[in-house]
């Protein structure tokens, strides 16, 4: 009996940290995404997986006018700048474990809204699903 309980405890301790899910979004005080129609997505220099394009695609699906590139390439008069931070882990295959997306005022860089999702291996999402979840949650904060 003791051996079975011990084995169960070992298994539980091993797998309990393997299914972590978080999804949060924040609209910063006195800020709004209403009127933010043109957006420039700042591509991370280290991004070799095209995450920036996934962000562009999602924002375009919401009817936004979107460009992407370096921060210096941001078009004049754009409403907001979007930055992102993606983290990847290896578990049999590489997967996106965390994604943070921040909308900032294009004029003064002050944050407008932020979204964050984390899904560990057992409950991993595709990069497209991660981007969709984070940005959808951000816009849901506006409502």
């Amino acid at each position: 009996m003791f051996k079975k309980l011990l084995g169960l405890a070992l298994i539980l301790s091993a797998v309990s940290g393997c299914a972590v899910n978080k999804a949060e979004a924040t609209l910063y005080p006195d800020q709004t995404l209403k009127g933010v129609d043109s957006i420039h997505v700042v591509k991370l220099a280290e991004d070799e997986r095209g995450v920036d394009q996934l962000v562009v695609n999602k924002l375009e699906s919401l009817g936004k006018t979107v460009t992407s590139g370096t921060k210096e390439e941001s078009p004049e008069g754009v409403d907001a700048v979007v930055t992102y931070l993606d983290k990847w882990m290896w578990d049999i295959t590489m997967y996106m474990i965390e994604l943070t997306v921040v909308f900032s005022d294009a004029e003064n860089d002050m944050p407008i809204a932020k979204g964050y999702s984390m899904h560990t291996s057992l409950t991993r999402l595709s990069p497209e699903e991660m981007v969709d979840e984070v940005i959808t949650n951000i816009y849901n904060e506006e409502q």
């Binding site: 051996k3 011990l6 084995g7 405890a9 070992l10 301790s13 091993a14 309990s16 940290g17 972590v20 924040t26 910063y28 005080p29 931070l85 983290k87 882990m89 474990i97 943070t100 921040v102 900032s104 003064n108 860089d109 002050m110 944050p111 932020k114």
Partner: protein, 179 residues
Amino acid sequence: MKAYKALVTTIFIASIVLLSGCAATPTDPAVMAPVDYEVANKHAHSVFVATGGGEETNAMGMSKVSNADLAAAIEKTIIETRIFEQLVTDGSGDYKLSAYIITLDQPTFGMSFTVKTSIAWRLINTADNSVVWEEVLASQHTTGAGEAFAGVKRLRMATEGAVKANISAALAKLEMLTL
């Protein structure tokens, strides 16, 4: 049978040791406050602090910076450096200093840990709600492999160092203001 028992016992004890050593602890406001910063230009006004964007620490996760701990670090800094004449906590100050954590970039593993953070700072004159100063400040801190044995401790130290550097950078901006 004896070998099996010994193996199971060893694995069990090793798991306990490993898991307990991996328990993350929250960042310490006292460590994050740059109290040794010598402010050249002090402001004869009162201020209250507001924070956001923080996150509570999960013992099975990484050390995070909560809104309360960030506020406590900033308040301790204000008190010790006396950059403002008075710190109030009831929202009645001449100025409101807000600090919102935008990003806290923490590595998941490694020998030395470099943590990067960006915090949006804003100083508002409460008399007319005008923004006196606002800026996003970025900072980072690296904790070397030799500074602590446990990785979770090195990560916490790097996190605290990054926030401390950010508050120092904010002090440098605040002391340049004419209020």
